[in-house]
Subunit: 295 residues, 6 copies
C-alpha cells in the first residue's frame, strides 16, 4: 500500500524553458535505465521476495524513493516545455534560426500528444517497456542487475549534466547523481553480503556443480586472432570463485559434429528433396518419439 505526499523530495525548477533539455530528460524518465525502470524493478523484486525481511523492506524503501524521482523529473519536463515555440512555427522558424533548430529538434509528441507535459517514453520516443525490468526471485542475481542499473543511470545523468547549461536542471541532476552514488554503494554492499552468506560468487550458488561441465568452467577460448585477451585478470591465476584456475586456450575446445537435421513430415511443406539426386535423408518417423508408440 502506498501514500502520496505533496512535496517533492527535492526541488525541480529549471532556470528557463527549454524543450531540447525536456527531450533529453525523457531518457531519465522512460529510458531503459530511467526512473520508471528502477522503481518498477525494485517493486517487482520486493513483491517477489521470499527471503529475509530486511531485503524486502529495503527494496520497498528504495522503490518508493524512485517513484518520487519519476515525479520530480516529470515536473521538471513539464516546466521545461512551458513557453515552447509551438504556434505558427513556420513563421517563427524563418525569423530566428535558433528557434528553427529548437522547433525541428523538439519531440513533437511533447506538443501534439501531451500538450506540453512529460511522456512515459525515452529520449527518442520509444515507450517504456516492462521488458526492461529484472526480477528473477534470486536476490544476488537481481542486486547485480540493480548495481548495473544504477551505474548506467548515473552515467547518463552525468552526460546530460555536461550537455546543458541550465542551473536549475543541474541542481536536480546533482541530487540524482548523489542518490545514484548511494544506490551503487548500497547494491554493492548488498551483493557482497549475499556472496559472503551464500559462500559463492556464482549465481545460483546452490546448483550442484557436479551437474555442470566443471572441466570447462575455467577456460578462456581465444575465438579471435591476437592474444591481447590473455593479459587480463580472467586469463590466469585462481578464479574469483575459489574453485578453479583460469586457463587461456589459444584454440577453443571442439567436441561437437557438424549438425545435420532430419527431414520432418511433408505436411509442414518444407523444401522438397531435390529431384536431381538420390536423397538419402527422407522423412522417417522418429522411432523414439514420445507421441506414437512403436507397437
Amino acid at each position: 500500500m502506498f501514500r502520496h505526499q505533496k512535496e517533492l523530495q527535492f526541488e525541480a525548477k529549471p532556470d528557463r524553458p527549454n524543450p531540447l533539455i525536456a527531450k533529453y530528460l525523457q531518457e531519465l524518465i522512460g529510458g531503459q535505465y530511467g526512473e520508471m525502470s528502477v522503481a518498477m524493478q525494485y517493486l517487482f523484486q520486493g513483491w517477489s521476495c521470499r527471503g529475509e525481511e530486511k531485503y524486502k523492506d529495503m527494496l520497498m524503501d528504495i522503490a518508493t524513493e524512485e517513484l518520487g524521482h519519476v515525479e520530480m523529473l516529470a515536473t521538471m519536463v513539464a516546466r521545461l516545455l512551458e513557453d515552447a515555440p509551438v504556434e505558427d512555427q513556420e513563421e517563427a522558424m524563418k525569423k530566428d534560426p535558433t528557434i528553427g533548430a529548437i522547433i525541428s529538434g523538439m519531440n513533437p509528441q511533447h506538443a501534439i500528444v501531451a500538450g506540453l507535459g512529460p511522456r512515459p517514453a525515452d529520449s527518442v520516443g520509444n515507450p517504456w517497456s516492462g521488458g526492461y525490468i529484472v526480477a528473477s526471485g534470486n536476490l544476488l542475481a537481481d542486486f547485480r542487475a540493480n548495481l548495473n542499473a544504477e551505474s548506467q543511470g548515473r552515467l547518463q545523468v552525468a552526460r546530460i549534466y555536461e550537455m546543458i547549461d541550465d542551473r536549475g536542471v543541474k541542481d536536480l541532476l546533482a541530487v540524482l547523481l548523489a542518490r545514484d552514488s548511494y544506490h551503487q554503494n548500497l547494491w554493492a554492499s548488498a551483493v557482497k553480503e549475499l556472496e559472503e552468506n551464500e559462500g559463492s560468487i556464482l549465481v545460483p550458488s546452490t546448483f550442484n556443480r557436479e551437474n555442470e561441465r566443471k572441466d570447462i568452467a575455467y577456460d578462456f577460448y581465444n575465438f579471435s586472432e591476437g592474444d591481447e585477451s590473455s593479459k587480463g585478470s580472467w586469463a590466469s591465476g585462481e578464479a574469483l570463485d575459489g574453485e578453479g584456475e583460469y586457463q587461456w586456450l589459444a584454440e577453443p575446445k571442439i567436441e561437437g559434429d557438424k549438425p545435420k537435421l532430419q527431414r520432418v513430415t511433408p505436411k509442414m511443406y518444407g523444401t522438397p528433396p531435390s529431384k536431381n539426386k538420390t536423397c538419402k535423408s527422407g522423412y522417417v518417423q522418429h522411432p523414439l518419439g514420445p507421441y506414437h508408440s512403436t507397437e
Copy 2:
C-alpha cells in the same frame, strides 16, 4: 570480420523430440538474457570500445563464443521439434491426453511460422529486441551489466535443467552452466580490475564529486514503515566507495515544495480555467523564455 566453422563447439542432440522443451529453450535463445542478447551485447561493447586493446579483444572473443551458443541451441530446438504432433491434431488429441497436452502447450509458431525450426523469440513468443542490450561506452558499467546477464542466464539454465528429464538436452545445459560460471568469474574479475584501476567503485569514476550533492550521497531514507532495512550492510559503517559513512534516516529529508505548474498557451487546448472562480494562474508569457525577447 567473422568466419564460420561447421562443427558445433559442443554437441546438441536430445534423446527424443519434445516440443515443450523446445518452447522452454527459446528463452535461452531469444529471451532478455538469452544467447542472442549476450552475443549482441558483447559485440556492440567491443565495437564501441575506445579503451585498452585487451578489453576489446576479450569482448570479441566472448561475443564470438556466444554466437556459437545460439547455433547450438537453435540446432537443439530444431531437433526437439522433429516428430511434433502437428497433423490432424483434433483426432490425435482425443486419443491420448498426453498428446493433447503437448498440442495445446506447443508454441504454435514453431509449426505454422517456422516449419519446426527455432524462432528469434523468447519462451512466450516475444521477438528478441535490441532494447535488451547494453553498450554504454563505459566498460565498468557494461561489465556490471555483463555480470548480471550471466547471472540471470545461468539461473534460467539451472531452472530448465530441473524441469526436464531429457539427458541429451541436460548435457548441453551442463555445458552452458559451466560457461556461464566462467563468464561470471570473468566479468567479476574484470570489474575488480577496472575498479582498482579507476580507484573507485562508482560509475562514472571520473565525474567530479564536488558537482554532486555529496551531503546526501550516503543517506538511506526509510520510505516505508518498519526498520528492518536498517539491519543491512548498507545502513551504517563506512561506505564501500571509501568516501563516506552510511546513515539510516528514519524519515526522508524533504527539501522541495508542492509543485504547481504554470498554464501554457491556450493553443495547446488544455483544460480551460474554471468559470466558477477567479483564476489566478492564467497563461503568462514566460519572462525568461529563450525564444521571445522581452523587448
Copy 3:
C-alpha cells in the same frame, strides 16, 4: 513523493496454488487495462495537471490506490505459483493428465524467468508498454480515457471471476470489482462536472468552431450497404452538443479528386518512368518549394 505501508489494503490469499489462474491474473497486472496501466496513467495525468488543485489531488489519490492494487495482485500471483509442477515435468505429465494440462498451460516465464513470481506483462506474455497510457493535458479527454479504462478493467475482472473456482482469488476480485465500480462512478461524475463547466461535450471545448467545417459536423455517411445505422440516436434529432441537427445521408458527400502524386527527385530511386510510353508527369522542381528560391 511516496511512502510505502506494509499492509495490503485488502487480503490476497488464494485457497490453493494454481498456475493457470496466475496466468490469467497477469492480464490485470500488466495488460492494456491492468493496474500498472491505470496507476501510471493517473500519475502522468496528475503530474501534467495544470488545472484546478482538486483534480490533481484526486488523480494522485486514485493513482496511489492503484499502485496498491498492483501489489495485491503481484502477491496473489506469487502465492498461486507456489507448488507449481515445475520439476521433472515429463514424468509428472505422464502420470496425471490434469498435471499435464497445467504444465503445458502454464506461462513458462513464471518459472524460468521469475522463479515463481509475477511478471510485468499480460496474460499472453507481452511486456507492459508505456504506449498503453494516456495523458494529454486535457482533463475532459483524459477522464473519458479513464472511464473507458475502468470499464474495460471491470469487464475483465468479471470474466475472470466466472472462469475460476478459487474462493480466495474471488474475494480479491470482488474488491477490485467494487473499486472499479466506484472509479467508473468517479470518472463519470468528473466528466459531467467538466462538461458542464466547459459548456460543451466536445473536446477540446475551446477550439473555435468557425475554424472547423461545421457544415459537415453533423452528418452520418452511410458507407456500407443497408440502412440499419439510420435507426440509432446518432442519426436524427438534436445533437448532444446542442449546436446542430444530426442527419443520416444515404450517400457520403464527396468533394475530393482522384489523387495523383508528382514524381520526386530521381535521387530517391523510385520506380523510373516507363520506357514504353510518353511520360507526362516527370519530376519538376516544385515552384513554390520553401527550400529553393525561384530567383
Copy 4:
C-alpha cells in the same frame, strides 16, 4: 467485403511541401489515436459484434469512413514530402540555416525507407501497434473507448492546426475536426442509449452486484495529503449509478496483513535461507496443492 473508390472524400493538397508538417501528420496516421487506430478499432468491434444489427452496421460505416481518412492523410504526407531537401545535405545545410533546421528535423525514414512517402508510424517513428485498439465484445465499454479516441484525436488535430501555417493542410484538418466533432457526438449518443437500455452506467451492467464488495463501492480513499479531492462531485451525494452514496474517507480502509510469501522448491534456485540465523520459513510442500495428493 470492401470496395475502393478513387476519389478522396475531401481534398488533400498542401500549399507547399514541408517535411516538418509531414512528420507531425504521422501522429494522425499511425499514432495511438491516429486514423489507423480508429479504423481498425471500429472494424474489430464490428466484426465481433453479437448485438443488435444497428450497432454493427454503424460501426462498419464509421470504420469505412476512417479508412478513407488514412488515405487522405497518407496522400497529404506524400505531397508534403515532395521537394524535401534530401540531396547533398551538408552543402545545403551550410548555405541556409532554415534548410539546416528542416534537414535535421525531418524524419529520416521518410527519405531513406519510404522514398518520400507516408509511414505506418507515429510522429516520433514508433510503428503502429495492434496493442492500441480496443474491442472487448461489450459495446458500452467499447463506445466509451471510442468517445475517448475521438476526443484525443480531435485534440491532436486542433494542436497541429495551431502549429502550422499551411492553408491547404489546415483545410483538411478543418474537415477532420468536424468529423471528430460528429464522432464525439455519435459515441456520446450511443453511450447514452446503451446506458438507458441496460439500466446502469456500470460496465458490465449484468454482473450480479451481490458478488462484488458493494460495501466499499462508493468510498473515496484519501491516499495523499490534503483534502482538495473532497471538493469534487465524486466525493459526496448520490452516486451516478443511483445505487449508493459517495463518501470521502480521510483515511483508507485497511483490511489486509503484511504479506509474507512461502519459500518454494529449491529447484527454482531462489535466494537460499541465511546461514546466520534460524530459518523459520523453509520450503514446505503445500498441503492443499492440487497436483500432489497428500496421501
Copy 5:
C-alpha cells in the same frame, strides 16, 4: 475512399467451435504475414505510388480484397470461440482431460480481453505491428516484398490446413490458398514486367553502377569451411543481371585494417585511460571537425 458491403466474399463457417483453431488462425489475421499485413502493405504502396496508374489501381484492388480476408478470418475466429469452455474451468478440467488441454491451450485473451472475439495479434499474442509492412516507393522492390509475403502466407495456410480436421475451416483455407496462388502469380508477373521495363534485375535499376565497387559485385566469399556453396548457380557462370561473371573465392578479399577508435571528450565519461601505462591515444580535438573552426 472505401465502401463496405455486408456479404463476406466467401463463407466463413466452422463445423464446430474450437478455440485451439481460433488461436492458430490468429497467425493469419495479425501475424507478420497475416491479412492485416498484406492489406496495409498494399494500401501504403498504393498511396505512395508515383508511377503508372495501372500499378496504383492494381494495388488498391488487391489491398481492398485483403481487407475482406481479414473480415472473413475475424468472423471465423468469433465463431470458433462460441461455446469455448470459459466458465468454472477448474471443475471442467478435472472431469475431462481433453477439455483440460483445451482450457490450458486456449489464448486467454480471447476470453478475458475480447469476450470470445478475434484479436489484432498473432498466434502467440504479439500485437500486429506497423513494423511488418514494406512500402519503399520503388515498385520493383516492393513487388518482391509482396511475392515473399504471399509465399510465406500460403505456406502458413497450407500448414494449418494439415493441422486441423474441421471441414468448414478447411473450406475457407482452400479459398485463401487459391487466392495466395493467384497473388503469387500476380506479383511474379508484375516483377517480370518491371524488370523488363527497367532493363535490370537490380533494385534500384537507376543507380549509376560506376558509383558502386563493381569489381567486387560478382564475388562469392567463402566465409565458412567447406566448399559446398561453390556448387550453386550463384557461384559461376554469367550473372543474372547480365553484367558480370560470378566467381567463387575460397578466401574473402580483405582490404581493411584493424579498427582503432579515438578517445572522445572526457565529458562523455567513457572508461578513463589506464593509470598503469603510458596512454598514447588520449582525446584530441579533431582537426577537421565541422563544428569548431581551427582558427
Copy 6:
C-alpha cells in the same frame, strides 16, 4: 561455431565526424532491412535448413559476411560521432546555427546512452526486433524474402549515398552497394534454381492443388473503380505457373452471406440483448460443441 578476425573486410573511415550521417547509418545497422536483419535472417535460415548441404553452406557464408557488415557500419558510426557537439550545447547553439541544427538533429541516445557509439536501433531509434526476420523452413519462400531484403537494403544505401557528401562514408556505401548487387543476383539465381527443381513457382510447391479452390486461383477481382488494373501482365494470358489462364473480372465473385454471430454465454458479459424488442438470437448451447456431450 564462429571465429573473429580483427581486420575489417573493407575500410570504414569517414572524412570527418558528422552525427547526422551517424543517425542515417543506423537504418543500415538496425533497421528492418539493416545488416543485423540480414545476418540474423540468414543464420536462422541456415540453422533450420533441412535441405541440401549447398544451401546451408551458402546461407552460413552470406550470414557470416553480413555480421562483418554490421561491424564495419558500427565502426563507421563510432567515428562519425567523434567530436560531436555534446558539451554546453545551449551556448554552442547560439553561436552557430549550423551547430544548432546538428545538436537538435542528432540522435540524443548516441550521446546519453551510448557515449558516442552505435546503437542496435534504426534511424529514428526503434530497437532492432526479432520480428523483422524470416525463416520458414521453406527455402523458396525464404530466398524470396532474401531477394526482397537485399532489394530494400540496396535502395536505402543508394538513397543515403545521394544524401551525403562525405567521401569516406561513400566509399563504404559503394562497397555495400556492390555486395547488395551480388546478393540480389545470388538470391535471384537460387530462386530460379529452386523453382526449376520444384517444378513450380508456387510456394509451397508440394501442396496438393486439388485441395485449394483452383477455380478461383486465376481471377483478378476489380474491387475499385476504374479498369487500369486490367492492363497488366497479371490480367490476361497464361499464368506464370503454367497451370491456368488469368482472367480480369469487373466484379468480384461473391459467395458468402452477411455474417451473423451467435450470442455467447452471459458469463462473458457482452452487451445484453435489448430490452425494447423481442430478442431472437439469445445464447443457445451449441449442440455440436466438442466440450459438452449432448447425451
